[in-house]
Symmetry: C2
Subunit: 772 residues, 2 copies
């Protein structure tokens, strides 16, 4: 861990140029708008270490699988988030020498991700090998308002010479994925045109035929004067550029405004791509850069209104939580129900695929509380649309019925190929069922069950039914050969979490069926028919619920993570020599597997999900047993521990966990931020404040709050959108104030006291749980 970024409430700031941290910064300073995005690569040429990355949501590539030993049932292809046309490029040439920060002396370097306004800016002075000095300033955005538009203002000023500066804005589609399995390139050129005032480039993927057209236009100024110089158009393989050559005097300021539209065949017909790009481009150019900036700033103001968390008295924590919220809002906006939230968003390529159970377990709660409910609903419908693929997936693995959702997917098909994950980490099915419950419980939108939810629940229940079997001599249903959320165990028997979520799914499915039967009889009949639902099935589910086996240790009063867990050599994380950490980099896999150390919340994940079914004492015994065994080597772990720690009043532990999750990328905690940010776990950071310190739950249609203060903050405040109202919850050491920012009244419970917060008004509560 090396902290080199400046602490600031609203911005991420880097104040000097260091090639060693360039790739980390490229990740951290990434910008995107849910539709497209990319890493904070430099506009001008850079020959140092860099991961050039521009990504279009939903445009992926089924790269040929690479495995050592093939297992029956593995997917042939592994979907890759696809690096696409580099549209930010602006090469600078000074009297025949390329401006390249790897070959200059750089001073006064400043890079800033302005999270309040949604811009990435950079300025520096560079001294070339021949002594020529230039000052450069750039600012760029990916528009939150015009999703296909990106724009850059790039200025360059010779400080100590007169000569010729060549400015070359370009579009370069000759890119490759760093994580390509066999070093293949994935794009073919379809069409291109280099023009004196811009150009366009259409590429298509070698498989799946995704087309992406990028079109660029520009204005160039010297000082305030718009120049009418005709650029030289250049066309090369998968590349177009406009070369603008300018005589300059010392002190002149050359400013290039580059506008780009990136459109894809996901949203436009193949014949319309160039038109669509040109139209969007022209409109943006006519609006002008200043207008784009204003639009951007206003769009982010609205986003922050819904989702900001304010922490007083701890700027570092304030910056961290805003960074997490900012990245989440950049990654997914819920407008396109074919999209989902990739583990690295638009900040890198690693992990491929777009969708993990992270979405249901971590991201859905964030979007439920910070955005219109249609956004979380779209995340659910994404899975509904993949139901047929999930059924196919179950058939491939030998199941005669039911659905097994993939561990990693782009289009509903599995695209991961480690048997212990792909075939065995089936608890993901439970999280997908849970998200249906979570959404309905949060929004009260029970109609969703009849519309979409029930079909998913029934097919998942059928999978669980076939995946368990009765052990006659125990008269219990068991589930063998699974991997739980704690991936530091593989192929275990009776993972408590998986068994519990399986029987919970059956319970909720029966409950949903009963609800529908009672309240939407005709829809129920229709669905029962469509699903060919048998009474023998629901009877079987009830039997499984009654006879599910849950490993437990009576003496300790804990649930066992899996059969035989107590046969392990029980040690504590605090006793692991520091040089052995992180285990996943220092220990061989077998040693990790047989050790008692836990990667991420497993039993505790279940106690969080089903928190209203377990008493505090049960949670405490399990937390006290499992927390000291947990190494938190998944970015998804600390937040769940933080939430439970808050519930149990372990405030020091909660704060420790909060720090671990919130500044993970800013401080490069796991030494891997150069690969991209941990986008989905950022939702966990949000959860650790709102569900953790805020103690926020939704029970029986009410907002329930049990806020506590970690003791390091003067106050903190978060927003909750709930059934039409937006509540701002402000917690100080002394009191909790809930302000209703809308006109829709809300029923809430604070420390077991019930309140109604009327429209545009506040209530204040003093509470016993507040820790100073």
């Amino acid at each position: 861990m090396k902290q080199y970024l400046k602490i600031d409430e609203w911005s991420i700031i880097e104040e000097s140029f260091d090639p060693q941290t360039q790739e980390i910064s490229e990740s951290v300073f990434s910008i995107g708008n849910g539709y497209m995005g990319g890493r904070a690569n430099f506009e001008e040429q850079y020959s140092g270490n860099s991961l050039q990355g521009s990504y279009m949501a939903g445009v992926y590539y089924p790269d040929k699988t690479r495995v050592g030993w093939w297992k029956n049932g593995y997917p042939e292809y592994f979907a890759k988030v696809l690096n696409s046309t580099n549209w930010i490029g602006i090469n600078i040439d000074i009297d025949g020498t390329a401006l390249d920060l790897a070959k200059c002396t750089v001073s006064e370097f400043h890079r800033e991700l302005n999270m309040k306004e949604g811009t990435l800016s950079r300025s520096f002075t560079a001294t070339l090998a021949d002594g020529k000095e230039v000052k450069v300033e750039s600012i760029r955005l990916v528009s939150m308002v015009r999703q296909e538009i990106g724009a850059i203002r790039y200025s360059i000023q010779p400080l100590n010479f007169a000569g010729t500066i060549t400015v070359t804005p370009y579009l370069d589609g000759d890119v490759k994925n760093k994580d390509s399995n066999y070093d293949e390139k994935f794009w073919n050129e379809v069409e291109k045109k280099g023009l004196p005032d811009g150009g366009y480039l259409t590429l298509k993927t070698k498989k799946l035929d995704f087309h992406v057209t990028s079109a660029m236009a520009f204005d160039i100024f010297k000082g305030d004067e718009l120049l009418s110089i005709e650029a030289e158009a250049v066309e090369q393989d998968k590349y177009v550029a406009s070369v603008i050559t300018l005589p300059v005097q010392s002190g002149d300021q050359i400013v290039l405004y580059k506008y780009v539209a990136n459109v894809t065949s996901r949203n436009h017909g193949l014949g319309q791509l160039i038109d669509a790009a040109t139209t969007a481009l022209q409109s943006a150019k006519e609006a002008g850069f200043a207008t784009l900036l204003t639009e951007q700033s206003e769009a982010w103001r609205d986003k922050w209104k819904e989702s900001d968390i304010v922490i007083e008295g701890d700027v570092s924590a304030q910056q961290a939580i805003r960074f997490n919220i900012f990245q989440l809002n950049q990654t997914y906006n819920g407008e396109d129900d074919r999209l989902n939230i990739g583990p690295k968003g638009f900040t890198g390529e690693k992990y491929g695929g777009s969708t993990y159970w992270d979405t249901e377990a971590y991201c859905v709660p964030f979007y439920l509380s910070t955005a219109d409910s249609t956004i979380a609903r779209n995340l659910l419908i994404y899975r509904y649309k993949h139901l047929e693929k999930a059924k196919e997936n179950a058939r491939k693995l030998g199941f005669t019925k039911g659905a097994l959702y993939p561990m990693v997917t782009m289009n509903g098909e599995e695209c991961h190929n480690e048997w212990e994950i792909t075939f065995e980490e089936i608890h993901r099915n439970g999280a997908i069922a849970y998200a249906v419950y979570n959404y309905v419980n949060y929004t009260g939108d029970k109609a969703y069950l009849g519309q979409y939810g029930l079909e998913v629940l029934v097919e998942i229940s059928r999978f669980w039914e076939e995946r368990v079997h009765l052990v006659p001599h125990k008269d219990k249903y068991v589930m063998l050969g699974v991997t739980g959320p704690n991936e530091y165990e593989n192929n275990v028997n009776n993972n408590w979490y998986t068994n519990r979520m399986a029987s919970w799914t059956l319970e909720y499915t029966l409950e949903a069926l009963a609800y529908l039967q009672e309240n939407e009889a005709s829809r129920y009949a229709e669905l029962a028919d469509k699903l060919e639902l048998l009474e023998s099935e629901t009877e079987k589910w009830a039997e499984i619920i009654a006879k599910m086996y849950y490993p437990a240790d009576e003496e300790r009063g804990i649930f066992l993570q899996q059969d035989g867990f107590l046969d392990k050599d029980l040690m504590l994380v605090k006793d692991i020599p520091q040089e052995n950490l992180p285990l996943n980099q220092k220990w061989s896999w077998d040693r990790i597997l047989r050790s008692c150390f836990i990667k991420q919340a497993d039993v505790l994940q279940g106690l969080f999900f089903l928190g209203d079914r377990y008493d505090l004492e049960t949670k405490k015994r399990n937390f006290d047993f499992y927390e000291p065994l947990t190494v938190h080597e998944s970015s998804l772990s600390p937040c769940i521990h933080a939430i439970l720690a808050c519930e149990l009043g372990y405030m020091e532990k909660a704060y420790e966990m909060y720090l671990r999750t919130s500044r993970l990328d800013l401080d490069n905690y796991n030494n891997d931020t150069e690969d991209g940010c941990h986008s989905t776990s950022m939702a966990g950071t949000w959860m650790s404040i709102v569900h953790g310190f805020g103690g926020f739950r939704v029970l029986d249609g009410r907002v329930v709050l049990k806020p506590s203060n970690p003791g390091h903050w003067t106050s903190y405040a978060f927003k909750i959108m709930f059934r039409g109202s937006r509540l701002k919850v402000n917690v100080t050491d002394l009191e909790v104030t809930v302000t209703n920012e809308t006109e829709v009244p809300a029923s809430i419970t604070i420390y077991d006291q019930e309140y109604t917060v009327n429209g545009l008004s506040s209530i204040t509560a003093q509470g016993s749980s507040i820790t100073v």
Copy 2:
């Protein structure tokens, strides 16, 4: 399974040409001499499907590992058996058209592997597209006497035309491995010379710098007339050839004798390679082809004298067992203690690496009984020489002491990379310790312990010591996270076999230490010093022996393959629908893992190894439980079941298992013979007769026999070499005759009756176990 080979006592015969079975035949008809060998590729060009393969023992390549997801501790490289210079090639051109069986009409095709004399021959008549007919006869050998020499007699006779035939013997080093991970070629050229009368070619591997020089010479005859035509020398990249153009009349017989020497830097200095090759080549050519054939025939006569098994009344079984013995003797001759027995010998590339636990568990018994004891001893010393690497391997996996031998290796380093195998299938260590016991018990060579054996035993014991841990509430030592011999279970706890072999290792190590202390005190002191052996260690081993945990089911009176085995959904193999078999091709891995079905002997392997420690009733209960669950999808499985079935008097089962193992490759039972033969499991076939039907054991320095007859054979006879004597055991339905073919008397027990068989005499026993 498709049987297309003719049944014959001494030969494998193919009587028609079928491109569909060409690759299977290339495997089955392979020839080798322990030093080199290759597949039965055609000499002349062949454009149909073919796996061209020539292999030099011990010349391998560390190919770059390919995995989907890297695990800490995986080896960087995966060793490949290296396809090397194709030295058999003789291209034939007839008036400008290449002779290519894929493009001719082929009649009177006959291919024969003469196992009695060690030759591969082929004859056919080919009609070319233009109607020209030629008759071709070839015979080739890889000399058992001159290990570096291969030779071919190739004759061609125009049947219906006069014209020009061009005969081109060549050496082609521009070859690649079919199983190359990234399609790379592995050889660079060092030196070559094409000469009018032959040529040579030196290549070296791109890594590890193995050099191989191949040199060729030839004589060409028309009828009986040695022609003195000067050939045209051709040199190309990694290729030399001699082009001989001959005018021919219909009925002329052109005969080419091609002699090749292949020498390697494993046996010669780099500067001596060409000299060595030339010298060996000249000597072979001067001896002449007829002499080479005679030498070969005599060498094989001696081999058969030691190792033949004769079965009367079942030619198919006779052919099968000879094929297995023949292939084993071709694969390994024990002369080079740096070599071992690859799973495919010289018959293919699959599986890479040369050494698996197959060597200790299956091959050592074969070589102990059929060859001089130095051969088995060399197999043991091979592991002794790898002890330091095995210690390094244990360190890499985090052990502070002891040795873990690799699962797959060429040079002592691990070269496999599936964690569930590489890191967890640690029972291999037990088999390596067991081989020491087996060798000493068989030969009586207790001096081996002090010389080599004890060091291996102590380091393996240290590994076991660190790999188990005490579970306080059970007061038992457990071993978690292993894969047993049954690879259809991964990462299980307390695999009975592994636990048992671990504590057995500790017992035998303590026994060996005590023996040495008592009988070779100074060597003991020396070794104790070298090994830094502590009293606390041996005390710990005794404690582990006393408190080792063995999973068992009291009710059934069986050992449990692993913890929780009885929680599985218990079904029988006979109830698996035929279309689901083989499971490894039809079921996904998770389904296989959680099923009760067993790939290969696991508990039963232990009951075979430690057979003298368990009573028949125990064996029976376990066999009756586990056999019906076993799918035998490892070639190593049926033989162990056959042996135990014989012991238990289950003769039908034993015969079924024998058939399954013995004709595995001849009848392409597993539909994979085209990849190469299952060389190591061939030793298991031998075991199923000698240890199975013959009931052969060595107890207290005596040969113990309990022969039985599967009821399908008139009689069968096998040889046992034992402590200087060679015994021929002949079993009929009525009696057992043991003939001592040497002058060294032998003490034997037949059906619990003790006998002494004096030199060059016989004894006959009637016995109750004989089944008609």
